[in-house]
Amino acid sequence: MKALRELLRLWPLALLFSAMSALAAEEYSFDASEFEKKPFELGGYVELKQEHFSFNRSGVFYKLNTFNQPQREHLDRTTGTLQLTGKLRQGIGTFDFRTNSSLQRDQLVHGDDHAIYDAAYSIRPNPGFTMEAGKRALRWGKGYAFNPIGFVERPKDPNDPQLAREGFWMANSDLILNPGGNLQTIAFTPVLLPVGGDVNSDFGTRGHLNPAAKLYFLYHDIDIDFAWQGKGSRPARFGMDFSTNVISNFEIHGEWARIRQITRQVTDSTGRVTTSVGDATSYLLGLRYLTESDTTYIAEYYRNGTGYSEQEAQQFYQLVNTAFTQLQQTGSPVLLQKALALSRGSYGRPNPGKDYLYFRAQQKDALGIVYFQAAITAMMNWQDRSYQVTPELSYTGVNNLELRLKVFMLQGGSSTDFGEKQNSRKFEVYARYYF
């Protein structure tokens, strides 16, 4: 009887233990059936971004972009973005898409933008062969910040190289072979890219069906690509890239591209434009190194074959300053119109210079906090020594939520690449929720 009383007394404890073990079992349960492939999938993210721009009021690009607006020191911009991705499967075919819609508001502009980044139908008659037609963002090259052989894609933003970009309408296919031995893989990707009417109108001259192709090899553990784009809407070009691990935590990569008979416009400080036609060679050498403490270093040198030397860029900056002086003194906008036209061309590219150095260090689980990453990125125009430094913090510890904070600090004297940009500082923070 006493034993029974003792047992009854322990019963709540036994219940608790049983509940705890049930909880533990539930904690670790996994049934794969809920992850079966579905005929239709939809996902994406919503993002809210706040930016604060500090203007470089003496910079030529500030002057050019704002001369007919009220002058300001700062600008605050709020952007809401919805990016949707989806797939629709039927038989051997799959239709996939990615759309990007954004709503932007600052003290000057309220606007919205909607774009289809990808929308392509692909079929796979056999494992080694895929055909595809639609809008597709192809990514060629091994560089982290720059891609000289990115022949059939919109330019990458070195300030956010991992950002999804809008593709081009095209037809392409993939043929994969595995010969074995030291030549582990061969893959051939031919592309046809039409330009006409409103289709791919920003690729180049209308009225061309542009052919391009990439041939990939995995040879002796080295990734090698040969890329080509035929003459059409843009001058013909060809190139190659490689990437390999020298040791397991040390990767090196490179790209080389040659553009045939490209037209290049160079201005002097009086606005006299010289047009020359010739071949241009761009290349990139880079490395990625991971330390035992999970710090990743990325370094790249980029030679931009179509870029402007320090002297050539200085002539353009002088032209802009002369144009504003002329406008103020005589009221004549002639020189300013010339400068504006040039700034909308290759002088106004994000990286118009000839030689750039790129460096990034990122620390995973910084300060011992899991999912917290600290990074610093620096980009320098090697010829004029102007540069941009970007510290960055991000946290992904909350399920499906990404928080990122970035500060862009531009430094350079007058008549230098980063010293003449529109902003001297930019503060950016965003929250992105994936669903």
């Binding site: 999804a164 582990q184 990625r288």
Partner: protein, 244 residues
């Protein structure tokens, strides 16, 4: 007389040598008992932080032969569509937003987990390690393994093997300096049918990440054969179409 002595010694020594444990053979059986040489499976990774909060990832995995592995992230939404590929010592990560694959290393962790890429895209232990010594205990064997090359994530492993089932129970992973990097604990033996009976749970913790713990759960593991083309960079954007 001396010849006779040699003869007797040989007779005594031969059965002893035959009875000596063949560590390489045990490791081979451990590899095959853990999973078929080519298979597909679903895995859930649970990363538990010191405050008890959790992050979960679900992966679909295909392995072919001794050294080809593809793992596709099905969940969470922030990682969905990411694919990791291993072909021997080469490892790549494909991110759908970026639209191309970059080379990664075995020591990194694509999930922020105690499990690193070498754990997530593990190939046969026998493909990466040689058996330095094998000891027999009451309930099992203890194998001391040494990495065959410097490309392997852990320089040495100490593996406790269940004698009856010939499956690992605990593996300690060491750096070349002798530092214990992590301990893997295999639990919950389950019959997955098709002759596959193996631990359904793998837990790990690391003295380098005190208070953190990661768990890997297995489901739907079955033998499968795949074309080599699936294990190439060009195929990574389409891996999600391969699941049945």
């Amino acid at each position: 007389m001396r010849k006779l002595l040699w003869f007797i010694l040989c007779f005594v020594a031969l059965p002893a040598a035959a009875a000596a444990i063949n560590g390489t053979e045990i490791l081979k059986k451990v590899d095959r008992n853990l999973e078929p040489e080519s298979y597909e499976a679903y895995r859930k990774l649970i990363d538990i932080q010191p405050d008890g909060s959790k992050k979960e990832s679900v992966l679909y995995t295909m392995k072919k032969g001794r050294d080809k592995v593809v793992a596709l992230f099905l969940s969470p939404p922030s990682d969905k569509g990411r694919v990791t590929l291993r072909d021997g010592d080469n490892m790549w990560l494909y991110m759908p937003d970026v639209g191309r694959a970059i080379r990664i290393t075995s020591l990194q962790s694509v999930t922020g987990s105690v499990f690193n890429n070498a754990d997530i895209m593990r190939i046969d232990y026998g493909a990466e390690y040689s058996v330095e010594s094998a000891e027999e205990g009451k309930d099992g064997y203890v194998l001391a393994l040494k990495a065959k090359t410097g490309e392997v994530a852990y320089d040495r492993l100490k593996m406790w093997v269940d004698k009856q089932l010939l499956l690992p129970t605990i593996i300690e992973c060491y750096a070349a300096s002798g530092l214990l990097i992590k301990t893997l604990r295999f639990k919950d033996i389950k019959d997955f049918s098709g002759g596959i009976k193996r631990p359904a749970t793998l837990e790990t913790d690391s003295p380098l990440q005190k208070g953190y713990k990661s768990v890997m759960l297995w489901s739907g593991i079955k033998k499968a054969d795949f074309p080599d083309e699936y294990f190439t960079l060009n195929y990574l954007p389409r891996v999600s179409e391969l699941r049945k």
